[in-house]
Amino acid sequence: MQPETAVVKVSAGAQPAAAEADTKMLINGVSVYYKAFRAIKEIDLPVYENRVTAFIGPSGCGKSTLLRSLNRMNDLIPGARLEGEVLLDGENIYAPGQDVVDIRRRVGMVFQRPNPFPMSVYDNVAFGLRLLGLRKKSVMDEIVERSLRAAALWEHVKDNLGQSGMALSGGQQQRLCIARAIAVEPEVILMDEPTSALDPVATLTIEDLIQTLKEKFTIVIVTHNMQQAARVSDFTAFLSMDDDRAGYLVEYGPTMELFTNPRKKLTEDYITGRFG
């Protein structure tokens, strides 16, 4: 049950996939507290570059909390506090003097429910670019198109970029949010149950999209759907809730291995549906 051993074992066992990939982020002994309550405790995990890492586990196990600690979104919650460190390219993003605006630019995020701004499709995608001070219309147009193409939305909206982002269907809205996130060219994209509010067809589109996106980005996805984790991810971390209701890491490894040959009884119970 020692997380450190889990990582050691995994890094040993995950060689085939990990060997070719660099470590993009490293979660190092991270615990997150909401006031006195400890939501997750002492988690150690690597996130490999250009790979999809999935966090799975029963609801309330802190997988979203862990995800949100990767771009300091938990800072927005009053009373939230983090112990340990999260390294991005070897640098602790929680170190004093770190610029949270820059971190969030480098580590983008897609949320559970599509949350486009109530403005046009174009303005949604251009939002982050305008923040960065991009003025040139031609460059803006180009990047907006490129982002929408990458999010597999261009064909649907190219004739009417002025329509409201809120007028799109749920799946299209989520792809718009992905386009918005990738427009500023982040290095990592965090996805917090990105398909939980979508129908099966839209879900598949997003899953396909994730496969193409990982060529350019590092992706971390939280999902409550084990099949989804198995389908889209290269590495999986299984979290569970301890007796004190704090989430902890049960097992981490290459997805194939974790699903076919789990080392922990709890993991096996969970993926076979006997628990959670």
């Binding site: 979104m73 009053p78 605006v101 949320f111 701004f117 939002f127 923040l131």
Partner: protein, 324 residues
């Protein structure tokens, strides 16, 4: 026949034993009261102003008609009072809106939780102080200490073309001016606009804030580029509500505006508002036509505030709170 009669009787006993018929009648009638009152108020000011409406027609409220308010000659024209209401409310809005939005943003987005409670209290308290107390404080403290110096400082603007008309001095030493009324109104409508805007901001889903922050927006960019545009119709509603308050506010304004029916557009001169002219003259109206003219001003006031409030309500409730 007999059977129906018994069942009819039984039903009646049933209803009355349980009392629900009476209860329904009671609550339905009570629900009707507010509806009837609004209609009745409108009807009364309409009927009571008939004499004035017939005597003066549309010229009564026209900005282009010759201003006249002479009870001795039974000549009445309401434009100076309407202008007084509009200009004081407008100045109050221009000053209060940025302040109120700042307060709303601070209360909803920035204040740490321990500070939020006390500040919310403060906003409510500002609204709770009776109007006459503002008036009294206005006469003896605010006018001499703030309004007179501000008025004097504005006098040089009187030389400007067009807008110079608004700043014709000299400011009376007492400070009784339209400017004084406007500045007191700023304090009085601040809580209304701030509180409604705060509610509008708080009704915006958290996911909007997160979306902006996750793209690397700063706090201010989140407020300015996402939250304020998202809540714009609700905030517009709050502003209109504040405008309605300012136009309807009576006592404090009556106490500081100087109550003069004189014409002219300068904010550095005493004047009247619609509410203050009624408050000041109605009880001592010298003729039926005078009473009727004041009633017509009441009618104008009622219609304006009704429209403003209905619009504000629609903007706040339907466009913002429900969508969120």
């Amino acid at each position: 026949m007999n059977a129906t009669q018994t069942s009819w009787r039984r039903r009646l006993t049933y209803y009355f034993k349980h009392g629900d018929v009476l209860w329904w009648a009671l609550i339905t009638l009570s629900a009707l009261v507010a509806v009837v009152l609004v209609l009745w108020i409108g009807w009364q000011v309409w009927v009571q102003s008939a004499e004035s409406r017939h005597a003066f027609g549309w010229a009564f409220v026209s900005p282009w008609a010759k201003p006249a308010w002479n009870p001795a000659l039974d000549k009445f024209q309401a434009w100076p009072a309407i202008y007084g209401s509009l200009i004081t409310a407008l100045i109050a809005l221009i000053l209060a809106v940025p302040l109120a939005l700042g307060i709303a943003v601070f209360l909803s987005e920035l204040a740490p939780p321990w500070l939020r409670g006390p500040l919310n209290y403060m906003v409510e308290m500002l609204a709770a102080i009776p109007s006459v107390v503002y008036g009294l404080w206005g006469i003896y403290v605010f006018l001499p200490l703030v309004v007179v110096p501000v008025g004097k400082a504005l006098e040089p603007l009187g030389g400007l073309p067009v807008v110079g008309e608004l700043f014709q001095g000299p400011t009376p030493a007492s400070g009784f001016t339209r400017l004084g009324a406007a500045l007191v109104l700023v304090i009085m409508i601040l809580p209304t606009i701030a509180a409604v805007s705060r509610d509008v901001l708080q009704a915006i889903p958290r996911s909007q804030r997160e979306a902006a922050m996750a793209l690397g927006a700063t706090r201010w960019e989140t407020v300015w580029k996402v939250l304020l545009p998202y809540g714009q119709s609700g905030i517009l509603g709050a502003v209109i509500l504040g405008f309605g308050r300012a136009i309807g506010e009576t006592m404090a304004v009556t106490m500081v505006i100087g109550n003069s029916a004189g014409g002219g557009y300068s904010i550095l001169k005493p004047g009247y508002t619609m509410a203050s002219i009624i408050a000041n003259e109605f009880a001592e109206a010298v003729s039926d036509l005078h009473t009727s003219a004041l009633m017509e001003i009441g009618l104008v006031l009622f219609v304006i505030t009704l429209l403003l409030n209905a619009l504000a309500r629609w903007l706040v409730v339907n466009r913002t709170i429900k969508r969120a």
